[in-house]
Symmetry: C2
Subunit: 185 residues, 2 copies
């Protein structure tokens, strides 16, 4: 690999991290190209396809955030609070970071790195759901599929309703959480 090629690959990676971070994984590649100071053709030549580029950066782009959530949530006491903290932090991440949202929404179902990241978060959440249900603190009729949908739904909303303030978005999350709790007997 020639020196300029190596330089460009690195530049494109960095530009992609930057652009995808703020705009999500579906940002036009021309913007990445512009940010990297190369032409769109170079990106295709180096990474094969849009997916190729995403695969090359998504881990670095998102893994940290998901890990941070898992760690923070592990430290919370009590199955209900833990489950709710997981959802809350995930939902806020979806609002704050379009790229992470794209991962959680499975925007590219074919991509292996994306799937892997998604599964990591999903399995963790599923465990928390089971534990909370076993403790009788959340509704027993919530399925793992429902959990996935709760996250997918929020992703769709975060994407589409982007004029709402973070505070309003946050406040409304409480309504949803409240609806998942077990009914008092």
């Amino acid at each position: 690999m020639r020196a300029d090629a190596r330089r460009n690959v690195e530049g494109i990676r960095r530009a992609a991290l930057d652009v995808f971070r703020t705009g999500g994984l579906t940002t036009p590649l021309d913007e990445v190209a512009k940010a990297a100071g190369v032409s769109k053709g170079t990106i295709y030549h180096r990474f094969g396809s849009r997916t190729g580029l995403i695969d090359a950066v998504v881990e670095e782009l998102v893994a940290e955030r998901l890990t941070a959530i898992i760690e923070a949530v592990e430290a919370v006491d009590g199955p209900l609070l833990r489950f709710e903290e997981y959802l809350l932090r995930t939902w806020l991440l979806q609002f704050d970071e379009p790229a992470a949202n794209d991962v959680l929404m499975r925007v590219l179902p074919e991509s292996e790195p994306l799937t892997s990241l998604f599964e990591r978060s999903c399995h963790f959440g599923r465990r928390l759901l089971y534990e909370a249900q076993a403790a009788g603190v959340v509704r027993a009729d919530i399925t793992p599929d429902d959990l996935a949908y709760l996250i997918l739904e929020r992703g769709v909303i975060a994407r589409a309703c982007d004029q709402q303030t973070r505070d309003d978005y946050r406040r409304r999350l409480d309504f949803v959480l409240r609806g998942l709790r077990a009914v008092r007997t």
Copy 2:
């Protein structure tokens, strides 16, 4: 107006009702044209613009459904059930009819007929919210804006998550409704 023109206007209206009903108000006009057996140019000539066509059919397309909800809900007993029935029926309508969903999502904020329809449903819901809050049966911190968002959110979801079955969609609505109820003291 010549006979063929009159015939075409009627044909286009009917085709639009048909096509918009199943595909929503953002369906490409070519499909309406094809269904009406005319060319796209004719639609523009007769209705001026896409919005013009929508304005000409949206009342007939959607008003009936919204009215049906209002009437059915008026007959329900109790402020909580009434409020929940309104949301439930509205949410299901959003799932079942893309065109009604487009109205409730304010897809064309400029269109007067659309706005009028939207307001009709919205005011009714707001009244139910007030009554339910006055009776202490739903959370007091829900604002009229929140109500609008609850509907907008569902619209976005109905659009984007179209592979889920109606039954699953319906079942998940219960979670949301539950979260809106007043906390028992």
